[in-house]
């Protein structure tokens, strides 16, 4: 019988994630034991958990290299992704507390604990160093989000959104898992670092069908999660039907987590194959941003418009992925954080545009909002400027880092297409701002004054966007240091 060796656990290395999971369990228990009054404290309790996770994340930074016998890489890259995820969860919970008025269903322990479990899965996806761990984290994240998308139980669109996301997501998970199986068949290991050294040591094995098939299937699986063309079809329907706060959460969190796993797998495990997948990703990046931007122009529903815009942003991020240098990876991290602030902020404004049970998601509903609700109008303009890439917002710096690195690495055409796409996207982003400030409302809409938590979320997101745009050096240095430590 094999002698059992106790693996090095380093529980302290995953303390932030542990806190997220424990908070989620506590929220569940508080929900069933506390009465009606207890339900109002669920959001606050989750907030405390996320803030504690953020604090421990910074305190334990750089203390460890790996945890759970190499299943998790506790490196800078994982740190930065966990930072993004925690901020996304923090903002989403703040928005959710005020969104309870519009959508009373979410005032429940299940909502907050699922959100925390999803954040837990996302953060593990960013630091998973084993293909099985990636899959487990992906499923923890996805299953929570399938349920969150359908949280408005008596709303047909919400159910449609959850069902579509579930069916297609399960299918994509199958592709991913089959890809893992083929890679395991070829290399005999699931550890990402070992896979990398195996393929470097055996260049003759690289082009056998088993490996190529595995890489292709994994591209499909990850491509689905980041909404890469041609696996983006689910995005508009799912984003439109899900409750606005959930849409913001999944548009940013899922994208960050899936991008992190994609970068880690392709740059560490398949580094030897880089010349092969770069060509495919080049085309995918170009088509993803072009398709996203062109279809976004013709949308009349703001959630669908932002869904297509999120596809376009996946395209910009893929440019950084194609370039693949260390600076480009830092640029991806920087861009992900800036995009997270702007997108969650925009969805926070959208979630505020509603009163009991009714939401105003049509673009025409935004007419005149700028003067009627100055706070919403101003912050929405900041977020849209950031997504369009206009200085002094975070989106501009993110695009600047990605495009300038693309030109340095010789991908001039890709950078040119990226800039052209940014110009196209200006049309629909500015269209919203024009409607908010220069057009008279078509119909009377009455929305409740923004609650304190919503104001906090909006200010935090706007602060993040402006801080990263005007003084980018702090976050950029953090991203540079983080990308260096990709194991």
């Amino acid at each position: 019988m094999l002698e059992f060796v106790v693996p090095a656990l380093n529980l302290k290395a995953i303390l932030p994630q542990l806190i997220l999971a424990l908070t989620a369990l506590t929220v569940l228990l508080v929900d069933v034991f506390a009465g009606k009054d207890g339900k109002t404290s669920l959001g606050g309790l989750s907030l405390i958990g996320v803030v504690a996770a953020l604090v421990t994340l910074f305190l334990s930074r750089g203390d460890f290299e790996s945890a759970y016998a190499g299943m998790l890489a506790v490196d800078g890259f994982g740190f930065f992704i966990t930072l993004i995820i925690c901020l996304v969860a923090l903002l989403s919970i703040l928005v959710a507390i005020s969104y309870e008025k519009v959508c009373p269903e979410i005032r429940s322990g299940e909502f907050y604990s699922l959100l925390l479990f999803a954040a837990f899965g996302m953060s593990f996806m960013g630091s998973a160093s084993n293909l099985i761990m990636i899959f487990v984290a992906l499923e923890t994240m996805s299953i929570s989000i399938y349920v969150l998308a359908g949280f408005k139980r008596d709303n047909l669109k919400s159910i449609e959104s959850a069902l579509k996301y579930f069916l297609l997501g399960a299918f994509a998970s199958g592709f991913l898992l089959f890809g893992f199986a083929l890679i395991y068949g070829a290399a005999g290991t699931l550890d990402i670092v070992k896979l990398g050294s195996f393929f470097t040591a055996h260049p003759d094995l690289l082009h056998q069908p088993l490996v190529m098939g595995g890489v292709a299937l994994m591209t499909v699986g990850f491509g689905f999660k980041i909404a890469m063309f041609p696996f983006h079809m689910w995005t508009p329907d799912v984003y439109e039907g899900a409750p606005s706060v959930v849409t913001g959460f999944m548009a940013t969190g899922v994208k960050a987590a899936a991008f992190a796993a994609l970068v880690r797998v392709f740059f560490v495990a398949f580094a030897a194959l880089q010349t092969d997948w770069t060509t495919i990703m080049w085309i995918a990046a170009l088509l993803t941003m072009t398709v996203g931007n062109l279809i976004a122009i013709s949308q009349t529903n703001i959630k669908r418009m932002l869904a297509y815009s999120s596809i376009a942003h996946a395209g910009y991020l893929l440019i950084g992925f194609v370039v693949g240098s260390e600076i480009a990876r830092s640029a991806i991290l920087f861009y992900l954080l800036g995009y997270a602030f702007a997108n969650i902020g925009a969805f926070a404004v959208i979630s505020a545009m509603g009163s009991k049970g009714e939401e105003y998601n049509e673009l025409s509903d935004f007419q005149g909002v700028g003067f009627k609700y100055p706070m919403l109008g101003l912050t929405m303009s900041i977020f849209l400027f950031s997504m369009a890439g206009i200085p002094p917002a975070a989106g501009f710096m993110g695009k600047f880092f990605i495009f300038s690195e693309a030109i340095k690495a010789g991908y001039v055409w890709l950078a040119i297409f990226g800039v052209i796409n940014s110009v196209i996207s200006l049309y629909y982003y500015l269209g919203v701002i024009v409607r908010m400030y220069f057009k008279d409302p078509e119909r009377e809409i009455s929305i409740a004054a923004p609650a304190g938590t919503l104001v906090a979320a909006l200010s935090l997101a706007a602060f993040g966007v402006l801080q990263m745009g005007i003084f980018p050096s702090y976050v950029w240095d953090l991203a540079r240091a983080s990308a260096k430590m990709l194991m």
């Binding site: 019988m1 002698e3 059992f4 106790v6 369990l25 569940l28 228990l29 929900d31 069933v32 034991f33 068949g185 070829a186």
Partner: protein, 118 residues
């Protein structure tokens, strides 16, 4: 390298072959006596009354799901029990953590009333 998978391939062939052979043989060898009664949906048992398409109460799904969860808990306990001695304190603590998490869910399910039938 691929030779290692020959037993797996064999197993798949035998498995698929068994299914095909069983179906083909029984339809080729079995006697066929057709009658009206045999064509009915439920040859044995009660004649159906009313609409046959009726939604199943969601309670069944909940119970099935809960059964699955706690059944899986047992599945995880077997290998632990077999290797109890060699896993030692470490295994015990890990198992307790696993069961505590499930216990929290159990309390949640109980208090939510998912175990009540009426």
């Amino acid at each position: 390298m691929l030779r290692d998978y020959v037993p797996v391939m064999l197993m798949m062939l035998v498995g698929a072959g068994f299914g095909v052979v069983a179906v083909v043989l029984s339809s080729a060898l079995g006697p066929k006596r057709r009658s009206r009664v045999k064509k009915e949906t439920y040859e044995c048992g009660m004649t159906t009354q009313g609409a046959t398409y009726a939604p199943t109460p969601i309670k069944y799904y909940v119970v099935a799901l809960l059964f699955l969860v706690f059944d899986l808990e047992c599945v995880f306990m077997y290998p632990w029990a077999v290797h109890y001695k060699s896993l030692g304190v470490f295994g015990f603590v890990e198992m307790v953590i696993f069961m505590v998490v499930l216990f929290v869910c159990y309390v949640y399910v109980w208090k939510k009333g998912a175990l009540e039938w009426e």
